[in-house]
Symmetry: C2
DNA sequence: TTTTGTTGATTGACGAGTCAATAAAAATAC
DNA sequence: GTATTTTTATTGACTCGTCAATCAACAAAA
């Protein structure tokens, strides 16, 4: 039972944060959504903060897996770049609720060392993936360029919480790929 | 008295959000920091949400004024671009506490129409400022380019909540200016 | 019968918002 | 220039609700 319940709680946590946009969700709300009592949620996770951290780990794991999957298919540096970008803006990751979760994790990261650590791991992996793909194309400029691309990805991603229109992965990907082409010196 | 107290409350709100990293600050904490009772804070603002919205308006006003000031000095499109970027990463705006405030405003924008509206105004102004400066340099590509530059600014800005190192405006400006040069086709 | 799963009820803390009461200042009348 | 009324400034104490966390008790496997 334990693994099933834990999983249900993580999904419910993400759904509830997505629904309300905040981490001001009660354990009861989460537990109810996951089909159990709040006492059971406490029983399995110990406390609210730990539920959030687990949800964060889960989200990062899913994202990481998707990136790795896309990278495995790629053969050239260019394809690798495209894979990284597309994975980040895929329909799994680029939805209002998932974006809300990420945004709230940034907020949590200011308070919780563990959350901060997790986001730094994400940032580091993104950076190193980008550098790996960029190096053959731009040499020493790879690291700086990776920071720009990474920043752009995060910026475009976060900006989607604004306005009413549902996020368009296509536009986002197009914009980032254009920026990459600029980095590679292939436009103008 | 009223204007003095209101002002003190806004500053205290920003300081407290910066200190804790969250909007989970009590009205009492804010009022105490501003040197008055929580009852008085309620008296002048009506409620917590309204305090937050006023603090948000204040932050955006300060930022807007700084950008306008920098733009007034600029004579060429290039200088205008630099002015916009530098204002955003100035020592007034690019500090852990102010960044925390912005981040939390993004979170609030998901729930509150008014907060959403305010952030959209910011986004719109940034975009139009950038387009205005970019048009003479890149013509029709200006709008698309402005989205990329704007996204990069927001991304680099937000990323600073991570890690322990205090934000370096210099690095941030350098990165964005480099991206702009790439947009202008002056590198490689 | 021991371990695992599960909950309703409870506790204890905390916090937003209200209110009645008091003090001080400003306006008005005499 | 003083007496008065009205407005503004201010707070401590209180209410009411909410919520995280605990626990004792019960059910169901193992």
């Amino acid at each position: 039972m334990e693994p099933i319940r834990r999983d249900a709680l993580l999904k419910a946590t993400i759904a509830e944060i997505g629904r309300t946009g905040t981490m001001d969700v009660t354990v009861s709300q989460i537990a109810k959504k996951a089909g159990m009592s709040s006492a059971l949620a406490h029983h399995y996770f110990g406390g609210k903060e730990q539920i959030f951290l687990a949800a964060m780990r889960h989200t990062l794991t899913v994202y990481g897996a998707e990136v790795r999957g896309a990278l495995a298919m790629a053969e050239t540096p260019r394809e690798r770049l495209k894979a990284i970008v597309c994975a980040g803006f895929s329909t799994t990751n680029f939805r209002k609720d998932v974006i809300a979760v990420w945004l709230n994790f940034y907020v949590l990261a200011q308070r919780s060392d563990e959350a901060n650590r997790l986001l730094l791991v994400y940032k580091g992996r993104l950076h190193s993936n980008l550098v790996h793909a960029l190096r053959p194309l731009v040499g020493d400029r790879a690291s700086d360029a990776a920071d720009r691309i990474g920043g752009l990805i995060d910026g475009i991603y976060i900006r989607q919480v604004l306005g009413a229109t549902p996020p368009s992965g296509k536009d986002a990907v197009r914009q980032v790929l254009t920026a990459i082409e600029l980095e590679l010196g292939n436009i103008k």
